[in-house]
Symmetry: C2
Subunit: 443 residues, 2 copies
Amino acid sequence: MTFKIGLLGLGTVGTGAARILLDPEQRHSLLPELQIQRVGVRSLAKPRQVELPPACFTTDLKAIVTDPEIEIVVEVLGGLEPARSLILAAIAHGKHVVTANKAVIARYGDEIYTAANQAGVYVMLEAAVAGGIPVIQPLKQSLGANRVHTVTGILNGTTNYILSRMQQEGGDFSEILADAQRLGYAEADPTTDIDGLDAADKIAILASLAFGGRIKLSEVYCEGIRQVSAADIAYAEKLGFVIKLLAIAHRAGKSRHSPDQDQLEVRVHPTLVPIAHPLASVNGVYNAILIEGEPLGQVMFFGPGAGAGPTASAVVSDLINIAALLKAGLAAGHSSEEVAVHPLLICAHQHYCAVAPMSELNTRFYVRLRTLDHPGVLGKLGTCFGNYGISLESLVQTGVHNEQAEIVVVTHRVCEGDFHQALDEIRSLDAVDSVPSLLRVLQ
Amino acid sequence: MTFKIGLLGLGTVGTGAARILLDPEQRHSLLPELQIQRVGVRSLAKPRQVELPPACFTTDLKAIVTDPEIEIVVEVLGGLEPARSLILAAIAHGKHVVTANKAVIARYGDEIYTAANQAGVYVMLEAAVAGGIPVIQPLKQSLGANRVHTVTGILNGTTNYILSRMQQEGGDFSEILADAQRLGYAEADPTTDIDGLDAADKIAILASLAFGGRIKLSEVYCEGIRQVSAADIAYAEKLGFVIKLLAIAHRAGKSRHSPDQDQLEVRVHPTLVPIAHPLASVNGVYNAILIEGEPLGQVMFFGPGAGAGPTASAVVSDLINIAALLKAGLAAGHSSEEVAVHPLLICAHQHYCAVAPMSELNTRFYVRLRTLDHPGVLGKLGTCFGNYGISLESLVQTGVHNEQAEIVVVTHRVCEGDFHQALDEIRSLDAVDSVPSLLRVLQ
């Protein structure tokens, strides 16, 4: 059988996918049955790094998603539009969709999966999270026996690269960011990566799969790495931690305010990770996802989170899975057919998960304060924290410069709301000059 | 719908699986449709740690695999017989099979998959390799776009526990083995684990999936950890390595003797692993599998390789997958029906892979020699290795005791056959007393 593919976009990932499809030897035996029929690009004149018949190419992307001969549309354009509209048009025309677009799925997953379920087509997205690491498929097909309680990921290669270099070189954020931009590890406009937005999209997708409900992206707390300083990395190291940008989704139990409602925590922020933790040694552009549940305990998936080859590997895996389903008659080859679908590969849930506000989060904190070098400052801080029921793991005066002392505090688990109240009171103390850093610590 | 299960065995893994099935809340929504119909045990009198109706139990295991009401048989007996015969009988009666039995699959996979393909049933084995870590399903469904060239695993928890403790404590093999037995981490008869046989079964299964051909277990080279000494672990550490029992399957390219034949290397042996390698930090009873291919690069799967909970998680995952296929009409519910099967979940290959003899292996070696403390010994060794074209990475005289010197040599990549010839010549040198250790080094 031959399954005809329409490829939207021939950038890095599209080119990588086309290369695999054109060179199937020693790969899966279904690959030769997948055929690139049309390729939608912005410019026909641009030279391409992969050999495809010139007749394949078109700048009319809409013509691809409506082409009756095409069964599977691969969307590797990136960005929100026209990607979203083209995906919806492809679904409306009965095409299965493979996408690497985390931004579209995290924002419009509800609309897209509702349409896909109505049309009886699959929307596959292994490439959208953690590049070449299989994590979507394992969550859908391999971990269902478990009560998953936590998914913790290093999901953004750019920030992990920058933090790893800051750790290794003792350098400052801005100079290493500039170098990463020069070397191609960070974009000219690095906002999406650096401010945690990319990781937020990805953890929203993983949380949705792990906890079986949709996630409102606006409810995902998101804090980037701009404020992580060389000083904090050095203090963290002394205390036995490394600093990583973690994306965390956690089944938090009942709401503090609505005790009959189960809530999730879904958040992205720089985090102090104990050096012996499996995620602590994930460095450079690598990604890793730790999934914890009962009775499994913990499993971790580690690998390249981006790049043409790894991302294309995930795209083509999805294509092989759809081809297998089409071959077995478990996917309609045309929009007019009605067939059964594979229950583990569709997105069946339609409700939204309740996400707890950050003020209800229970976590540990690392805080660095500048105070006057007066006797009794430590005591005042301790009293202030104590008044809010905040128990401290360590409270260390680390040095004195210009009559100012630097104090680093690590708390036990506290309620985030209580902690901020205590910190507001501490900020107002005469002896306290400023609070340069506030970071969370992995429990 | 309800899918009726016959459970063969209610030991650790069987009890773990039953517990999950009886407590489906917050797990996959298909779980309540899976129902334990019969449980085959050796003794009806034995107290059980899971509540099942007494009428479920039988000592007549054959009656379970022939019961027309049962659609899926879960084999968690372990051992070769009666497991093999019961699996074959279940298949002959049109039942799908979920097994955790690496020994049966590694030895009788050919017979079992041929029968399963004829009967149109699935034989699922996620639990057979690396316990709770999803690796079978990712190999079948997520990595097919790649030309996999190497699978490297820490696949046996007992040996990894012993080697980790030897590393941490500087202790000797036999005393730590005894302690591991006392603590329940090693069996009273530890042969299967310690001598690498368990890991050999598992790498044969992984190689078969990764390279799309069956593997003759007798062609898997297998060397255990009995000869790994505290001295070698200490030397390895000084040289920047840790010693792990690795199971390796590698696409070796053309045969040296039959240049038109592609060959695999499939082997289990203690190995010096560079400390920065992702597998080096996998300690204790944890397992990990590193899969390398093009264009993916490398991905690693890490988690608990054994234990009731993790293994049961894998068993029940397979059950959920079969239930999903039955529900979608992609699996016959009874032996008389003929339906399409899912192409990625059957074992379609029927040829055997060619496995290269160890003499053709190209690898690096670590060798420890005892020599007389004479000037010129190092020179003689160097000349001898040089005569066989063996290039050395390091050659270090590490100490002198009782007029004997200890010399540790690490080679660059050499052909194993050539290396053994050189070593035979070295053993015959007057200045050489003995060769206490010979280990391979990960490239």
